[in-house]
């Protein structure tokens, strides 16, 4: 019974791979991973556009989410009295619990028209996706970075201040660098969440199975590729979607392992 989590993980890997790997083999790994054409009805199964889409959207999410998140963590940890952060913590947890479809909805109703009217393009774009995804990973980044800052020994701060540093200098030059590994862990976990997000991305990315050339272009990610077409795919097409899942699985496992290794090293 205790091995349930391991067995489930193994089962998941097994079945996804069992469905997906044969297709990758048949089509050829190079052609699958680097092919630019995704036309299932014609037997073309290249997922490079989706890989690129995932990459850009995730990068954008990090550009938005990490500075904001770390800033909020600094805010909660250093610039407010403990009573305020006591209220903030459950609030952040609450926001983390909001379903992704709600975020996607807001993106659809508010961001997409905003982008379309002011910056051009269809609105359903990488930009919209990055912004929303960035907001969605904020709770992860904030809570873990805040933990990292809180875990620092008081002597760091006291030492710096007693040497004549201003509060800000202490934060910028002493505390943040010291909390670096915790912040990095939070970034990696945030990346994991970003790469794995599906519903919100389906709603606002536009889902064009083509290489995005600018941030105003529509795109697809590995996840949305599966989410959109799984409902009606059959045969090879379906297997190709599982194959997309295989690639996704590898990326996530890689990120996860990285995060676990880093956090273990922190604790040691």
């Amino acid at each position: 019974m205790a091995f349930s989590s391991i067995s489930i993980l193994a089962l998941i890997a097994f079945f996804i791979f069992a469905q997906g790997v044969p297709l990758i083999w048949r089509v050829g790994p190079a052609s699958f991973l680097l092919g630019e054409r995704w036309f299932p009805s014609h037997g073309s199964f290249g997922i490079l556009p989706m890989i690129v889409g995932s990459f850009w959207v995730t990068l954008g999410a990090l550009i938005v989410g990490v500075p904001l998140g770390v800033a909020c963590a600094v805010f909660l940890c250093e610039l407010t009295p403990p009573s305020v952060s006591l209220v903030f913590r459950p609030t952040i947890q609450l926001l983390a619990a909001i379903p992704s479809v709600i975020y996607g909805f807001w993106g659809l109703i508010v961001l997409v028209p905003l982008i379309r009217n002011n910056l051009g393009g269809p609105g359903l774009s990488v930009l919209a996706g990055s912004l929303v995804l960035g907001i969605m990973i904020l709770p992860t980044i904030i809570s873990i970075s805040e933990d990292a800052l809180h875990a620092l020994p008081r002597t760091f701060k006291e030492g710096a201040l007693s040497l004549g540093a201003t509060h800000w200098q202490t934060i910028w030059r002493v505390l943040l660098p010291a909390a670096r590994s915790g912040i990095v862990a939070s970034v990696i976990l945030g990346m994991g969440r970003a790469v794995g997000e599906t519903m919100a991305m389906i709603m606002i990315l536009g889902n064009a199975a083509q290489m995005p050339r600018s941030i105003l272009d529509s795109a697809r990610t590995l996840t949305t590729n599966i989410g959109i077409e799984m409902g009606y795919a059959t045969g090879d097409h379906r297997q190709a979607l599982f194959a997309t899942g295989v690639v996704l699985f590898f990326i996530i496992m890689g990120l996860n392992t990285l995060a676990i290794v880093i956090s273990r090293r922190r604790r040691a």
Partner: protein, 278 residues
């Protein structure tokens, strides 16, 4: 050269702006749905089932679907999760085996919901022939919330003082008796909070459910019936553009439910720590 006091003012200013804009955006997102959706909520909305593919009517069948799926997930994941936590903390010491189990649990926690959906589809729906059903969806959900339950249960068990165990053994208790009479009753509040968090996650889950529970608008009649949950309904309404009004209303109901569950969980945690600390 900028004086360090100026750079402090700038730095802190940036942080304040960041914090408040984050808060502002979060509130905006919630209010967006609540402001339009709350006025539309009334008893009829909850008691009536969707009609005309959701263009009119209420969300009754989806509420049933949500409750049913969550119930199945909790019933399966809780014993499994608590059992794993008890095993990790009470029956073994830190060893290769326990490290592997923990690694597996951590990894499972990071698997995206769409992958769970794919797995649930090929394993429960197709292989085990459960079809698109509450059972398929519930089992998939159970796998998704298992890491959460294991984690919170472990924390709850860890918090119990070692002396309680020593006393129980010294009075002639077996390991099982100690677990059943001392560990579990005292860990219950923490475990319950974990269960509530799992409930919250189940209610908000969409991707995995679409692929395993289907999207039927009919009130489910058995564990093998397909069903639609509130979050799936919300997604379909919004994406297919069926009815923005209904989407707002459903979204508001969804947010309320999740806020309620999370507030309950946080309140319980707060009460529990006050009792233990005091």
């Amino acid at each position: 050269m900028i004086s360090r006091y100026t750079s402090q003012r700038v730095g802190k200013g940036v942080v304040w702006v960041a914090a408040f804009s984050t808060l502002a955006v979060m509130i905006w997102i919630l209010l967006q749905v609540l402001v339009e959706g709350l006025p539309l909520l009334n008893l009829d909305f909850f008691m009536d089932s969707p009609r005309q593919m959701g263009r009119t009517g209420g969300i009754f069948s989806t509420i049933i679907g949500t409750l049913a799926l969550t119930a199945v997930a909790i019933v399966i994941a809780t014993p499994l999760g608590v059992g794993t936590a008890v095993y990790l903390r009470e029956y073994t010491r830190e060893s290769r085996v326990s490290r592997i189990i923990r690694f597996g649990t951590d990894c499972l926690a990071g698997v995206p919901s769409i992958i769970f959906g794919l797995f649930g589809f090929v394993f429960f729906v197709i292989l085990l022939r459960m079809g698109w059903s509450i059972l398929s969806g519930g089992l998939t959900l159970a796998a998704m919330i298992l890491p959460t339950i294991i984690c919170t249960a472990e924390e709850a068990i860890k918090a119990i003082p070692y002396s309680y165990r020593e006393v129980s053994f010294a009075l002639g208790g077996t390991r099982w008796q100690t677990v059943a009479k001392v560990i579990l009753p005292n860990a219950m509040p923490g475990i319950f909070t974990g269960v509530l968090l799992g409930v919250g996650r189940s209610v908000g889950e969409t991707a995995a459910i679409i692929l395993t529970a289907g999207s039927s608008l009919l009130i489910p009649t058995s564990l093998f019936s397909p069903t639609r949950t509130m979050s799936v309904h919300f997604y379909i309404l919004a994406r297919e553009g069926i009815s923005m009004e209904m989407a707002y209303a459903t979204g508001a109901a969804l947010i309320l439910m999740i806020l309620g569950i999370n507030t309950l969980a946080n309140w319980l945690l707060w009460r529990y720590f006050r009792k233990v600390g005091g």
